[in-house]
């Protein structure tokens, strides 16, 4: 199957009348690294959560592996979610539990509820959990309580938990927003490497346009719950950024100084590099 996920005209209106998504359609294929960018409140988190059914669309539908999420029974939904790993901004690890237990929790949908209830994980569950921990480099912390770890390490535990699901899709909701810039980049590199090794469809929410350009194959820009850009990272231009972030929210020169661009760190993603001028006409 060439399409793992399809969104058909998805709208989400929360109780209370807040419209988070308006008629979003998109398709996601295996092996893509997609970054969704947009301001806070643009609907990024909601979009990501419609993809695994944590948020139900109020209109439209999402098909995951060819099955409709809207018409799925709770049991079907759990079955579908098993193949979708998710990583969160604030890690969502159980702080009082050990690292290994946190990662084992990613195996819940692979093991019968009664076995997991008594903590009777299968040999395979433990092996998978252990190899995932090794993969993100925190295996030596397996028996340490999660709250003893640094933010970056906790996020790696979160990634290991998602990988323990042996997923086909990885969703990451602002995975680096709570981390310092250096750790953030390291985590993004880890995600990219995992995506490349496994050919895993990876969809990441980011508010940092710099990181988006550095890592994305494809960028989706959201503004006020609508898709305003969907294309290759290289096709993103300053006008588009102004569209996504608002004209007075995006300052070309402030965000990407000439020195940065000439080093080519961010510039190569922005078409003509080293031209900090276009936005002067935009800002007022």
């Amino acid at each position: 199957m060439s399409r793992l996920i399809e969104m058909h005209d998805v709208s989400v209106t929360y109780p209370g009348g807040v419209r988070a998504l308006s008629g979003v359609s998109a398709r996601f294929s295996p092996g893509e690294f997609v970054v969704i960018v947009g301001l806070s409140g643009a609907g990024k988190s909601t979009l990501l959560r419609t993809l695994n059914g944590l948020v139900k669309p109020t209109a439209g539908d999402v098909t995951l592996f060819g099955e409709s999420l809207v018409s799925s029974s709770p049991a079907q939904l759990r079955r579908l979610r098993r193949d979708v790993g998710m990583i969160f901004q604030t890690f969502h690890v159980v702080k009082r539990a050990t690292v290994l237990h946190n990662v084992l929790a990613g195996r819940v949908a692979h093991t019968s509820p009664w076995r997991t209830f008594f903590g009777l994980w299968s040999r395979r569950d433990v092996e998978v959990a252990w190899s995932c921990l090794k993969r993100v480099g925190v295996a030596e912390k397996a028996y340490v309580r999660a709250d003893r770890l640094s933010g970056g390490q906790q996020q790696r535990v979160g990634i290991a938990r998602a990988l323990a699901q042996e997923p086909k899709v990885l969703l990451a909701d602002e995975p680096v927003a709570s981390l310092d810039p250096r750790t953030a980049r390291a985590i993004m590199r880890d995600l990219k490497k995992i995506q490349q090794d496994e050919g895993l469809l990876t969809i990441v929410n980011l508010h940092s346009i710099e990181l988006a350009h550095e890592f994305a194959d494809r960028i989706i820009g959201l503004r006020d719950g609508r898709v305003v850009f969907d294309g290759r990272a290289g096709d993103m231009d300053p006008e588009m950024l102004a569209e996504i972030y608002g004209e007075d929210g995006w300052y070309w020169e402030d965000r990407v100084g000439p020195a940065e661009t000439s080093r080519g760190v961010i510039g190569n993603g922005l078409g003509t590099s080293g031209t900090p001028s276009p936005s002067t006409g935009k800002r007022r």
């Binding site: 979610r81 998710m86 159980v94 702080k95 929790a105 990613g106 819940v108 509820p113 699901q165």
Partner: protein
Amino acid sequence: MASSSYTQPSTASPLPQLRRLKLLWLVAGLIVAAAYALSARTTEFNLWTIIRDSDLFFQLIREMVPATKERWVHLLTNYLPRLRGPFLQTAQMAILGTVTGAVLSIPLIVLSSRNISPHPAVYTVAKGLMNLLRTIPDLLYAAIFVAAFGVGPISGILALAVFSTAVLAKLTSESVEAVDPGPLEALRAAGGTNLQILRHAVVPQVAPLFWSHCLYVFEVNIRASTVLGLVGAGGIGQQLQLMLSLFQYENAFVIIVVTFLLVAVIDGVSNRIRERLV
């Protein structure tokens, strides 16, 4: 708009409000004084007569505290060993009451925590039941169970169990409602069932608090079970009641002192463990 109301001079002076506040305090004070006077008159409670007749109290104390060394030796060698049984029974009542309460509280905790309760209606009913159970003091439960099941420790254990259930459910459901919701979302996203979410996201966060609450309830139950005997629900309290009614004040004194020491030691140990748990 906002600026116009801001610049508008305030027409109301703060003085009348201040005067009203003073009047309120005065009225409240008068009501309390009147209620006190009325209650004192009907119950013939008078602080002055109590102070005047306080020698009656000290008289009792003098009768309770053994005066001579021989009496002390006699009490410690002859009476104290006979208290082993009743004290053991008190401890057993507290243990059985606490453990039974802990087991019974678990379903009530799940149903009466807003964030994990299966349905808002179930939540409302469970919370209501919990609060109702908790409004009745343990001594009253004991009196009711003694009336129903007769004199003896069974009634005391039942009273402690019901009271422990209510207190544990109350304390722990508050802990459950305060858990970090993040792991719950993570487990749901991983395809977990509600039971799995409960077991792997809620339980690890709450378990240390639950054990701590259990120890606290055990402390309370030890203290309560020393008193339950007064209404005939077994344990050391029943022995104390007996000695007081037989005017065996020296024996009663030994019971009170040992109870005090035992409760102090158990509280101390339990506090130490609870500090390490959380």
